[in-house]
């Protein structure tokens, strides 16, 4: 006798069925190499006896087990479609640069509301914004879009954090001392000028790009053998470096 059946959402069950059917298709395809007379699944339907439940947020189902009476029925039909149909009806998979909604640090309620709108990734959200749709009005939701936009930027930045490979002390064309930092993903936000603080004194960032950043030094920075350099590359990337001279 099997144990308790697990509760599932329709999407999960269909996903599992599709995975199982894919396995079957792969096995049959291998078999067809040596045995030309083979069969493929044209379509499949399952009529399930289930007990649905709704917790105010999600509808879940539990498959009826032996001895359980009064179950409802749900029918699932899986047909085969061509690869062209798949392309026409399916969104392209999430790209490497795209962020899934689950990767963003926002509350579960916001994520849930976004999913209801069919938004699964940042790319989806941007597509909606491109079409000039006011999500706040359409969804009549309480999503804090400003906060969401910040969280998206923060998550994006977390994917490409700044990396300092080297710090060197040099002089500029006027023979004034300067610190030159080299690395990756340094100043990524063109609209934000990085801020540098050396030994708790503000310093001017004279040049910056994603690979190099130059900080002008003055007498007020009181350079010693050990110096603390705090760099704010953008609102979501702050770095503290101990510079030894």
């Amino acid at each position: 006798m099997a144990g308790e059946n697990a509760a599932w959402q329709l999407e999960e069950l269909v996903d599992s069925l599709v995975v199982e059917l894919d396995k079957t298709r792969e096995t049959l395809a291998v078999k067809a190499i040596n045995k030309p007379l083979s069969y493929t699944v044209k379509d499949l339907a399952l009529e399930l006896n289930i007990f649905p439940s709704y917790d105010g947020d999600q509808v879940k189902f539990v498959t009826a087990q032996p001895g359980q009476q009064g179950a409802s029925k749900v029918s699932i039909q899986l047909g085969s479609i061509t690869d062209q149909q798949v392309r026409a009806t399916t969104k392209a998979p999430t790209g490497k640069q795209d962020l899934n909604i689950d990767q963003i640090d926002v509350d579960t309620r916001t994520k849930r509301q976004l999913r209801k709108l069919g938004v699964k990734s940042v790319e989806d959200l941007q597509q909606i914004q491109k079409k000039n749709v006011d999500l706040e009005k359409v969804s009549e939701s309480t999503i804090d879009y400003k906060r969401l936009a910040n969280q998206i930027q923060k998550s994006r930045r977390n994917e490409t954090p700044p990396r300092v490979r080297s710090v060197s002390l040099s002089r500029n064309e006027n023979q004034a001392p300067q610190l030159v930092l080299r690395g990756e993903n340094l100043a990524m936000d063109r609209s934000f000028k990085p801020v540098a603080v050396i030994n708790e004194t503000l310093a001017e960032v004279t040049a910056c790009n994603d690979r190099e950043l130059t900080v002008a030094l003055g007498a007020e920075h009181q350079l010693a053998q050990e110096n603390e350099l705090v760099l704010t590359f953008d609102p979501f990337a702050v770095m503290k470096i101990n510079v030894r001279i």
Partner: protein, 90 residues
């Protein structure tokens, strides 16, 4: 973990797709093949989750042929298998 009495769903489907060999009559010099086969049967299901939380579907045709005190819950599976390759994605 799936109950050992149940097969992974893919296995049940695979078995149902083993329709058979061509029916040949050498003396008459003819042979026939089944082009399409539809199966409809009651199945028992065991729906569990694996260690990663993924849903696993185990299934089995009716295990007992006698009336028992607790009647199993028979779900219904319909499957159509067709001869040939993936000409239409199937």
């Amino acid at each position: 973990m799936l109950d050992e009495a149940f097969l992974p769903f893919a296995e049940i489907v695979r078995h149902l797709c083993l329709v058979g060999e061509p029916i040949s009559d050498a003396s008459a010099g003819v042979s026939s093949v089944i082009e399409e086969c539809s199966v409809e049967l009651p199945v028992e299901l065991d729906v569990t989750r694996d260690a990663d939380g993924r849903l696993q579907i185990g299934s089995a045709p009716p295990l007992y042929y006698v009336d028992t005190t607790f009647r199993p819950s028979f779900h219904r599976l319909k499957l159509r298998a067709r001869l040939g390759g993936d000409d239409d994605g199937g």
